[in-house]
């Protein structure tokens, strides 16, 4: 992993006040996001909602990869599972919308429990490859089961309740769920559970040596990560209104990995920023060039060579250099 830059390497377990004293910056930022729909045209609301979905997905992956140290190469499996569960509930049952909010993550969580149970026995790349193989099995199944999942045609349109069918409704739901989920994940990272997870990432053998049931802990983290990816999948259904097997494919997982690299894996919020950058880049650059993948590829190479800690990681390092007091544990 990349060298940590601040956040979890310092004062975990210590309730120090923020360096800027109080919550005002956050409240300000929250207010901006809350009132953006008043001034932004529909398309930008849609785009923002898409960013929120991607941000949650990226942070969910970073939970298992950046904090858990497990080379999860198939996060899209759980994203897609959540999305498909939501789509199937909404199109095939008469259940109200609020059922899908738990149904999506639950489906993804169960899938994560089953696949994770096999995977946590394996190490590093073997672990990664097994997640990939099992993920592609799920992908193949979703793409072939025409009677149930609609096969490769996917499911569209997905009926949504009135208040969610506008870009504004999607924006608010995605915003609220994303913020709440990030808050929960952040608390998890800073909890004893999260600290232990990071200890396992640094040294699984030593962790077992101080009495930690490594595999059980990793499996729990795997499931938590899958749950939140599934929740992101539900949000995708709300924002896009359709699902198809490309949500589950390994190329989607690769996209999420790119978000992590862009933003920085060693920070909590980096992957979310990476998600925002990637979504915006793809939609803005895609308008101007047909060779968007070429541009993205070059960005990746340059970034990995010169800014492996990601954009947020880099900013944090700069900020920390200016405020050395931040580094010291109180």
């Amino acid at each position: 992993m990349v060298r940590p830059a601040g956040l979890f390497s310092s004062n975990a377990g210590v309730t120090a006040p923020g360096p800027y004293g109080g919550a005002w910056p956050s409240v300000g930022a929250g207010a901006v996001l809350l009132f953006l729909p008043a001034v932004l045209p529909d398309y930008y609301l849609y785009l923002m909602a898409g960013i929120f979905v991607a941000a949650l997905l990226a942070v969910s992956l970073n939970f298992i990869l950046g904090y858990g140290g497990l080379l999860q190469l198939s996060q899209a499996t759980f994203y897609g599972a959540g999305g498909y569960a939501a789509a199937l509930v909404l199109t095939r049952t008469g259940l109200p919308f609020w059922v899908v909010l738990p149904a999506g993550p639950l489906t993804a969580g169960v899938l994560a429990l089953v696949t994770g149970w096999f995977c946590v026995r394996l190490r590093r790349l073997y672990f990664g490859m097994l997640t990939l193989a099992l993920g592609q099995l799920v992908w193949a199944l979703a793409g072939r089961w025409y009677a149930f999942t609609g096969g490769d045609n996917g499911i569209s349109p997905i009926p949504l309740p009135g208040f969610l069918s506008s870009p504004r409704g999607g924006y608010y739901l995605a915003l609220v769920v994303m913020l709440a989920s990030l808050a929960v994940l952040y608390r998890l990272v800073r909890s004893p559970f999260g600290l232990t997870l990071q200890a396992i990432r640094d040294n699984p053998v030593r962790a077992a040596g101080v009495g930690i049931d490594v595999q059980k802990h990793q499996l729990t983290a795997f499931v938590v990560s899958g749950l939140f990816a599934g929740l992101a999948g539900v949000l995708h259904v709300v924002v896009a209104g359709s699902v198809d097997p490309s949500l589950l494919d390994w190329t989607k997982s690769a996209e999420v990995l790119i978000m992590l690299l862009l933003g920085g894996m060693a920070t909590f919020i980096g992957p979310a920023v990476g998600a925002a950058i990637l979504v915006l880049l793809s939609m803005v650059l895609g308008v101007y060039t047909g060779y968007w993948l070429l541009v993205l590829g070059l960005i990746l190479v340059v970034l990995a060579l010169f800014l492996p800690q990601g954009i947020v990681g880099f900013l944090e390092e700069r900020l920390s250099e200016k405020n050395p007091a931040d580094r010291a544990v109180r």
Binding site: L33, P41, M48, A240, V273, A276
Partner: protein
């Protein structure tokens, strides 16, 4: 360092990026809806294995746009978006085109899943949507609507056409195979349903499904060969057609049984294969640049060759027809009002390189003929051609309107 600070960083970066996007977006003038200029947003797979079709269709569309303008018709503007054959991307681009670019019409779309999602979205937003490549029968079927139009013959029509011709041949024992993908399954299923109706007593010996992008068909063909059917009916398309026909040729399967595949006689496939193409393979084509040898077709081919240096494939025909239909629709509707455009397109007939073609009023599926024949060597050409094509009129292959409308009731 606190989490709050991270949140601030996130909000700051997102806002910055958003401002950048807004600035980028403002550079583009929303010209649409104002004058007589029709703005078309095109989404297609301009990268990846399917890009060959996408480019061909776009070339045809451009030719049509120029022709419409040259004949005193309305001016048609267009923008293109690359979906990398990804259905989720299709829908994003459709929303961008409708909400941001304010296009009057959305067109293109080869990916079936994407076409279906975009069809539903366009219909809901009351923006005309014309697919020029996707062959899913669901587009004008379960996902059809007032604003949804399909140019190419769909999988039901392909199955019907193939069944119609095969019923007249003395074969009874069939092996069914295809891409493990909606296109393959739909073509095979509709073919088999139609054939059982046209020729009771046909026998199905087995089925094989191979992945899209399969690189080695030998294991499949070996199993099929051992079952000794009279006919192998294959629903394979796109770039895989080249690999499939190579495997047929290499294992001599075409000498042991009749092989039939919808795009086997498609010129773009046969051109790639050159002398390596199997002889005597049955196929249907929706468009051949050399048949019918009418003046309309010859003129179209000549104009296309002049513009791009090579002949048109079937996607080019549908891109071209899309432009021609749109030009006529703007004239008929007297402007670019989206609802009036959709109403004008419904039931419209124009002359085309393959004769007069009509957008069926009931379901907005284009009524277009198909051509059936076998691959053969022709003196003086380096590539195989379809020998003595038989034209199957549209009326014989269109699905019944009743069945289409029934699929829309859910």
């Amino acid at each position: 360092m606190s989490g709050k600070r991270h949140f601030t960083i996130l909000a700051g970066l997102v806002s910055l990026a958003l401002v950048a996007a807004l600035v980028a977006g403002c550079g583009r003038t929303p010209a649409a809806g104002t004058g007589k200029v029709l703005k078309v947003g095109i989404i297609d797979a301009y990268s990846g294995p399917a890009s060959s079709y996408a480019k061909d269709a776009l070339d045809g569309f451009k030719l049509g746009v120029n022709e419409v303008a040259a004949n005193g018709g309305p001016k048609i503007d267009f923008v293109t978006r690359d979906d990398q054959f990804n259905a989720a991307k299709d829908l994003s681009w459709a929303k961008e085109l409708v909400m941001q670019e304010h296009v009057d019409v959305v067109a293109g779309l080869m990916n079936s899943a994407g076409a279906l999602a975009v069809a539903s979205y366009a219909d809901q937003q009351k923006v005309p949507f014309i697919t020029w490549e996707s062959m899913s029968a669901q587009i004008t079927g379960s996902h059809g609507g007032k604003y949804v139009f399909a140019m190419p013959p769909n999988t039901t029509m392909i199955g019907n056409a193939d069944a119609k011709e095969m019923a007249g041949l003395p074969y009874t024992r069939y092996w069914l195979a295809g891409d493990d993908y909606d296109y393959g399954h739909s073509v095979v299923n509709s073919f088999w349903a139609a054939l059982q109706k046209d020729k009771p007593g046909v026998q199905k010996l087995g089925t094989s499904w191979w992945p899209v992008g399969e690189t080695n068909y030998t294991p499949y063909l070996n199993v099929i060969r051992a079952a000794k059917p009279d006919v192998l009916f294959a629903g394979t398309g796109g770039a895989d057609m080249v690999s499939f026909l190579k495997a047929v040729q290499a294992s001599g399967l075409n000498k042991q049984m009749a092989v039939l595949d919808h795009t086997a006689t498609d010129p773009s496939t046969l051109k790639a294969l050159g002398a390596d193409a199997p002889v005597g393979v049955y196929g249907t084509s929706d468009y051949l640049s050399y048949y019918p040898a009418t003046n309309a077709n010859k003129d179209f081919v000549a104009a296309f060759k002049k513009a791009y240096g090579h002949g048109p494939g079937f996607p080019a025909l549908y891109g071209y027809l899309t432009a021609r239909f749109l030009g006529a629709a703007v004239q008929k509707a007297g402007g670019v009002n989206k609802t009036k455009l959709a109403e004008a397109l419904s039931g419209m007939t124009i002359d085309s390189p393959v004769g007069p073609v009509t957008i069926r009023a009931g379901d907005h599926q284009l009524e277009t003929p198909m051509f059936f024949g076998r691959t053969a060597v022709q003196a003086g050409r380096t590539t195989l051609v379809m020998k003595n094509p038989v034209e199957i009129p549209a009326a014989q292959i269109m699905p019944s309107l009743a069945s289409v409308l029934a699929s829309r009731k859910k």
